[in-house]
Subunit: 178 residues, 2 copies
Amino acid sequence: MGPKHTKEEILAGALEAAYAEGLSQLTFGRLAKRLGTSDRIIVYYFPTKDDLISEVLVAVGGRLMEELEDAFGERATDHVELAATAWPVLARKDVDPVFALYFEAIGLAAAGREPYRALVTQLINGWVEWLTDFFDGPPEHCRSEAEAGIALIDGLLLLRQLAGPEAADRAAARLNVL
Amino acid sequence: MGPKHTKEEILAGALEAAYAEGLSQLTFGRLAKRLGTSDRIIVYYFPTKDDLISEVLVAVGGRLMEELEDAFGERATDHVELAATAWPVLARKDVDPVFALYFEAIGLAAAGREPYRALVTQLINGWVEWLTDFFDGPPEHCRSEAEAGIALIDGLLLLRQLAGPEAADRAAARLNVL
DNA sequence: CCATAGATGTAGCGGCCACTACAATCAACG
DNA sequence: CGTTGATTGTAGTGGCCGCTACATCTATGG
């Protein structure tokens, strides 16, 4: 038979809840109610709140990575081209909730809260490392190109979240990303 | 005699507390303890939590505007020049806490929480409007230049908060902002 | 069949939260 | 003096939080 609720089911529900209500609304009690079970079950699989949050954030990072995998299929010559190939994939309505969660985590990281700070910096550094390989040339050059690309994309995504898709697209066009 | 605690004193203390501990840790009780008074006093001047948060955020917005006033003293020809003149003023260690709070507010806004969402979008739109006047040409061109400049700056500031000043400066150099 | 380990239910703990009721103080003013 | 309004103190409220104690059930292996 196996357990009625597996850890995977609960984690999936937690992701769903986080997308719907935000990380700050993700509590044992609310998640339990959403899954039609008791908080006791959730605590059994995720002994502390940090465990739950961490796994959710790692999963979100994975989801973002998938989106980016699709975006960065080919090599790029510079940060603008990188952003230009990424933008059509990232600026879609169905991925907006993912980045909403991403920015919420960034906000909590900026406030110095753990485990957000550790996880988000790890995520960012992972991207820099990964994107560095998309460029040719001396390693330091490649890294700064990757960092510039991330700044470009994150700036546009932030504008998209706060000022709307039209404003972001206008800015993207001006930055030669569209 | 006047009151022992004026509203201004409390608001100043709230700003201080927000810079030190983050918005999410700003509660009636904690602020009262920090000020050596009772939460009752704070509630008297700020009847709801939203009132307190709103006034704090407006004050932070004002503080940011001051920084930007200094940054954007002269007119700019395009978004890169705009960002380039702003960057030295914004990328300073003493303003980092301001932007940490800024990103925390953005995160809560991205999660759809009020009053953050309303206040932050208002803040952003105010900047777009204000920066639009720094450019010459047709209004639509000026607006998209302003939006691009904001995306550029915010992307760099985000990188600075999460990956450190060095990474941000490297990206800034690559984006012709440094 | 029994022992064991995994999984689940019931109940509750102490703590912090935003917010409130109510009374006391105090100054200004008619 | 008496009233009024602004301010402050005391003491809560109900609710949600993360987390825990403890009993129970169930599947499995010896």
